[in-house]
């Protein structure tokens, strides 16, 4: 009797809570604008071959440095002009989004795995485990990130894989700090103590009970680190120690356009503006998510 009466009552609050969350998401302009912009960029990156038929690697030395459509001398087959090797700039910008998004995603997965694991262990076990992990975090924070990343990429040989690996090994600190603090506050809650009492292993409690409760905080950190990774990739590629030419990376395109900065500044302006828009979108989304998930992160 009680079972049939209780189930709808239990369901009602969850459903209304979900509705409330959705309403909060829809009312948050950061999530709508940031998420919308990000979605457009992601779709453009995925469907790049359908959007343009131009090959981002195809050189045409007879059509070098053609200007984009709003300037004189522009040609209709190259909407945004061509670079110093005659490659279609629109195609390179589109495919460049793949590099930025791929780096952002890959780095965050690697960094998240490291940082979350360290943070869970430090926050849950405390004592000397916490001391050691906190020490590792402090040491990592003391390293000049741009220089260490540059050095590691230089020694490991510049490539997309090296870059993602190096940045993943460097950008886990915020994941660790946030996870550690959140785990500390959850470690003595009833559901954790209960799970321990019925004999779940520490690993089971950490990843089965505590981790699911950290979703909100982790997602917020993840968006911030995606933005961070995208900016670092661009900076490293700009300095010639990121992805290698001829790959269409926005940072690399800015470096290549630099030689023609006097007469064709649009070569730099275009990829840079796209970087801004992408990072802005990710940050707006992150800020919006932080607003609706509550004050978990610093």
């Amino acid at each position: 009797m009680s079972a049939t009466e209780e189930s709808p009552m239990e369901e009602a609050p969850t459903r209304s809570r979900r509705a409330r969350v959705i309403r909060r998401i829809l009312r948050n302009s950061g999530i709508i604008v940031g998420g919308g912009l990000l979605l457009v960029i992601v779709l453009a990156a995925i469907f790049a071959p359908l959007i343009t038929s131009a090959d981002p690697y195809a050189q045409d030395l007879s059509a070098r440095l053609l200007p984009p459509f709003w300037m004189d001398r522009s040609v209709p087959e190259h909407l945004l002009g061509t670079d110093h090797l005659g490659r279609d700039y629109f195609a390179r910008l589109l495919y460049g989004a793949r590099v930025s998004l791929g780096v952002g995603l890959g780095v965050v997965v690697a960094a998240g795995a490291i940082g979350i694991t360290l943070g869970l262990f430090a926050g849950y076990f405390g004592g000397w485990v916490d001391m050691v992990i906190s020490f590792i975090i402090t040491t990592r924070l003391s390293l000049p990130i741009v220089l260490v990343a540059l050095a590691a990429v230089a020694l490991g040989g510049a490539s997309l894989q090296t870059l993602v690996l190096v940045l993943g090994l460097l950008l886990w600190d915020r994941f660790a700090v946030v996870t550690r603090a959140a785990t500390q506050s959850l470690a003595n809650r009833e559901f954790v103590v209960g799970a321990r009492a019925v004999g779940r292993s520490s690993i089971g409690v950490l990843f089965g009970e505590i981790l699911p409760n950290l979703r909100g905080a982790v997602i917020v950190v993840a968006t911030l680190e995606v933005a961070n990774a995208i900016l670092l990739e661009a900076a490293l590629s700009f300095l010639g120690l990121g992805v290698r030419p001829p790959m269409p990376s926005w940072g690399l395109m800015i470096a290549e356009g630099r030689e023609n900065i006097l007469f064709d500044p649009w070569l730099i302006a275009l990829p840079g503006s796209l970087l801004c828009v992408l990072v802005l979108a990710v940050n707006l989304l992150g800020d919006g998510l932080r607003d609706i998930t509550g004050p978990v992160t610093r």
Binding site: L141, A151, G240, G251, I261, G272, L275, C276
Partner: protein, 307 residues
């Protein structure tokens, strides 16, 4: 306070040691440094000669101990490219980087603090929204790109500033603008949220109720308590500015330590790179330690249970 200071100093020394091991180990992380130094054109015999000349044939622990003891006395070995003592090269390059970093830090502080206070006085007001927008934009703009665009507009189109170098004070304007805009958003946000917390506190209400003018309430009562997180962040940002100037120095062709680090990397001059990584890390360790001690002095709660 003494106990806290001692504990904090022990941690600082340990972190410094760990950092030194890392910057030393970087050379060995990807295999044989002798082959890296010999370059792609080097033969096996070249690599062997280099191995002996640099002492790479000794156990790593011995090499590390040797390197750290020398570094403590200010000897970072010889640059492979310049064939000069690393210390000498760095000493000639470091002043301009410090000048650029501290100048940018001061500009960032001078913009961030007043803006943060104004924004906090009316949360969600017009000033707050504009300040937040300014900060959000600053966090999204890649600093090297902003530098290039400013060069195009103010250097090339209007010719107001030199497009590279720091021969005159005008050469400093754009790099300082770019670097300070890079450091400003975080500082503005911390000032703002700290002030919002403090302005709703009881003692601020009391100060207002006493009839004190608003600027005295803010300057004497509120700001003092909102400043603690700003001190910690300032230490971090100053460190970030010094290492972030690598990119900016190469954009503006400034002959500082950052550009030296980058060029040394491109020519595999590892002793110079190691030394710069270590120096930048140590500057960061010193800055954060000092800021922790200042915070502990200002706020007894941070020192922990025992006084």
């Amino acid at each position: 306070m003494v106990a806290f200071a001692l504990r904090r100093l022990v941690v600082a020394v340990m972190v410094a040691l760990a950092v030194s091991a890392l910057s030393f180990g970087l050379m060995f992380m990807t295999g044989d440094p002798a082959i890296a130094i010999a370059g792609s054109g080097g033969t096996a015999a070249d690599a062997e000669a280099i191995r002996i000349a640099y002492g790479f044939d000794r156990p790593i622990i011995v090499q590390y101990a040797d390197w750290v003891t020398r570094a403590l006395s200010g000897d970072f070995g010889r640059s492979i490219y310049f064939n000069l003592p690393v210390t000498e090269i760095i000493v000639s390059r470091i002043p301009i980087t410090l000048k650029l970093g501290t100048l940018s830090f001061l500009v960032a502080l001078a913009v961030a603090v007043p803006l943060g206070i104004l924004a906090a006085m009316r949360p969600n007001g017009l000033v707050d929204r504009l300040a937040l927008g300014f900060a959000v934009l600053g966090q999204a703009i890649p600093s090297f790109w902003l530098g290039l665009m400013l060069i195009v507009v103010f250097g090339v189109w209007y010719g107001l500033v030199p497009i590279s170098g720091t021969q005159t004070w005008r050469g400093f304007i754009l790099p300082v603008v770019v670097l300070s805009y890079y450091a400003m958003p975080a500082m503005m946000r911390v000032t703002r949220s700290g002030m919002i917390d403090v302005l709703s506190a009881d003692y601020v209400r009391t100060a207002r109720a006493k009839g004190l003018p608003e600027w005295i309430v803010i300057a004497r009562h509120a700001l003092r308590n909102a400043v603690l997180p700003l001190i910690s962040l300032s230490a971090v940002q100053l460190g970030v500015l010094l290492s972030g100037s690598i990119v900016i120095e190469s954009v503006f062709a400034i002959n500082g330590m950052g550009r030296l680090a980058w060029e040394s990397l491109l020519r595999s001059d590892l002793p110079v790179v190691q030394a710069i990584i270590l120096i930048l890390s140590l500057i960061y360790v010193v800055l954060t330690t000092v800021s922790d001690l200042i915070n502990a002095m200002l706020d007894p709660r941070i020192r922990g249970g025992r006084a």
